[in-house]
Symmetry: C3
Subunit: 355 residues, 3 copies
Amino acid sequence: MKKSLIVVAVLAACAGMAHAQTVTQTPSSMTIYGTFDDGVFKRTGGPLSVGKRDNNKLGFRGVEELGNGLSALVNLEIRFEPDTGSVENGVRPLFQGQSRVGLRGGFGTLRLGRGLSAFEEAVLPFEPWSAVPSVAGFLTDLQVAGYTCDPLSVSGNSGNRISHALFYNSPMLYGFQLNANVASKQPNGSPVIIGRGTAANPQFGANSAAIVVPYSLSLTYLDGPLSGMGAVERNAAGTTFWSVAAYLYPLSALKLLASRQGQNQERNVLANPVTKAWLVGANYTLGAGKLLLGYGMKSPEGAAKTRQASLGYQYYLSNRTYLYVDASTKRLPVAPVLSYASTMNFYSLGVHHNF
Amino acid sequence: MKKSLIVVAVLAACAGMAHAQTVTQTPSSMTIYGTFDDGVFKRTGGPLSVGKRDNNKLGFRGVEELGNGLSALVNLEIRFEPDTGSVENGVRPLFQGQSRVGLRGGFGTLRLGRGLSAFEEAVLPFEPWSAVPSVAGFLTDLQVAGYTCDPLSVSGNSGNRISHALFYNSPMLYGFQLNANVASKQPNGSPVIIGRGTAANPQFGANSAAIVVPYSLSLTYLDGPLSGMGAVERNAAGTTFWSVAAYLYPLSALKLLASRQGQNQERNVLANPVTKAWLVGANYTLGAGKLLLGYGMKSPEGAAKTRQASLGYQYYLSNRTYLYVDASTKRLPVAPVLSYASTMNFYSLGVHHNF
Amino acid sequence: MKKSLIVVAVLAACAGMAHAQTVTQTPSSMTIYGTFDDGVFKRTGGPLSVGKRDNNKLGFRGVEELGNGLSALVNLEIRFEPDTGSVENGVRPLFQGQSRVGLRGGFGTLRLGRGLSAFEEAVLPFEPWSAVPSVAGFLTDLQVAGYTCDPLSVSGNSGNRISHALFYNSPMLYGFQLNANVASKQPNGSPVIIGRGTAANPQFGANSAAIVVPYSLSLTYLDGPLSGMGAVERNAAGTTFWSVAAYLYPLSALKLLASRQGQNQERNVLANPVTKAWLVGANYTLGAGKLLLGYGMKSPEGAAKTRQASLGYQYYLSNRTYLYVDASTKRLPVAPVLSYASTMNFYSLGVHHNF
């Protein structure tokens, strides 16, 4: 009798401990971070406007040390429009920036969720405007030239993120790093896309599955005055994209940049599927700031080229905050012939704050 | 003259103080917390997919000590889809997890807002998968069997939360705790619901008020190797739901679980309004992990039963992070006769991280 | 040879430093803050309801000290519905409260983005309910009388914020402060607005640009028992609004308030464009709480007046948390004649918590 009571008491205590164990948590180590960028701009034919130069984000980042060099990582990044307070573009998902969870260890970093493709993750230091989406920058319109990582996602979706995906970054080895993403083929709420079909018989019906496994691969070398990268991607609709880029510091104050890109949409368009682009640029430390220079060209096969030249200056109030001024001019095609047509000029002035 | 100047000066000082008092704040004690769960899964007939096993959340929690054992509580919990970055299901409210404010003291906890019903709040330790919404778990499809707490809210709304409500939790007394919610009958933007009506004359027009006062009550006993709970709910459309459940720790490493549930939709459907379900399961500590086992059955009156068996393992990297693997099989009805039809198998592998 | 190797090594080191410099960040100083207000209310003809008295918000605020008295400021403020967990009104932008970035220094504060107009920013201490949007308060229905700061923004947009704007606050000088906003004329996704046009030929088509430069100016004096403010605004559709207000502390426990407002919609309506309003009120410290009193009248030109009397009490549990009770009665016009018609009574009881 007494023994059984003791057994019950011990079991009760153990049960209590076992239950308690599941709710104990070490304190959270979440960090809030972000970027707020806003300014005044004017483009040819448009009104004097207030708007952003860079993407705006509010992020939450956590790291848990698991021992033996292993960490758990989590990252959630809101993207927003600074002048209306809405989510990015008014329609994008709440955590447009990224939503990923994973583990980091000796094997590298392995994450699941949604985030920048391996190319987009690598390209930032190889673009003279650090890949900001401003008209003055070269990434969106020239380098990527309308290519989208995730064409079979919901309407308004970002063009440079991969959904329902695995993300791998290797450890750095002699300055080299391999980055690889692969996504599932599962449907993700896409609208009807005509593609190589017709309005009556579109290539992709609503909520289509991927026709190939989407992936992105990039290899970077970031260890010296001369650095480089190469990347190749294939999206859910079968469009392929590639990029090679390099930068050089001939002087500590001067960074020279060059890149070449191409895409092939032959699985999605009926004619002239290839577009190529190139870019040269420089960053030069000048006083408490940095001068930005760039010139590039986009050449869609069988259609007119777009040429762009940009000049900017970033004046650093701190390593987190700078004021900027940009001027850019773009020669745009108006007809599908090999001529240059109307010119679009762009000027902006604003503040960029990382927090 | 001088006196009146002194009076004015004193009044000015007092006014300043009185005004200042309303803006002084003690430092905030907000805690950021959450869950990020993502993995790879495959179900019969579906593609290899990337998706969640548990709900994903990012929460903000605050406690202010008011003295005399009284505290003010606030809780706001974002729910999101890990693989698209959108809010849960793409349409749910931002703070789908919960949004509540209230006071805690000797009388218990009294809160206002929106949150889990008293049943849903109590059921977690009585389900072998800790009530995760995965296909491998038993809560959503079997135990609750399609019952929804809040049928007259906006389209896409959660099925296990109560809006426009008061939430009460009693203090623990000899291991017992009483939890009670009551919601207002106010309309909350519901779509048209046919219910016992017809398409031309639906039971509930758009933005209908509740036809009864919605409530949820649960009583839990959580103080020993044998714990139990009982709950009863009624939603805004008059559907009732009940649940009884227990768990036992015969060994400190072994938890045995059993529950029985039922709902009655007689105020909303024309025939066969009753559905019942039962479930047995076990959790067993094995190495650095926990083995999960469950078997259950849902029996809709006058229709075929659904049977489900699941097996899982959670490997703990820490008390906040585990890897999991699940296998589950479900016998599904295809016609409203008492037979079992097609089998759906489900496999998943992923990571669960609390932060 | 050796020299050139040394040069390369130095360049490499400098390049590394230059690159590293752009990614170093001082730790973030973001503060999480907010308000959660919820209660029970009843209005004539309506059901007993659960709902808010004040706006509910969750904000993120950062300050970076830049040296020489200069700071960078960032502010992002979510607004939400406490009883459904959705963003404010279910349709408003995520950061409805505000989204602004800027600099503060000896020159004052200069910010860009979206936020309260200079009038709305100044009016808070001049309204007896501190400008809460409750039916018991006077700001929304009486003082502002339907005037909206931002009529050419997306549907459901807030009436008291300015988008795509510059915000300036002067330093305090002898108790005086000047606040000024100016917005761009750029289109911001507005729906069709008939205005002075017809359904077939509306005054404003979808996504119209502003017809005038929107601005708001306010001057406050907040340094003594007698304080005052004056403000004037013009919105994107050309409607003008003005306000003058004062408060006095005849005793340190007693604050008396009075204000007068008017708007002129002659550029947007065909007849009777002018509406005026006045308000008197008091706050009186009573025990651990504050008694609120107010009486006001709105007089639309050529239409019936609305009169409102309110009585409330706020009981402070701390300087961050209070319980409140309100009673209010409003005489509403039913026909466009100078008579008073149906009476709407309103009662509420709830909790207000700042965090």
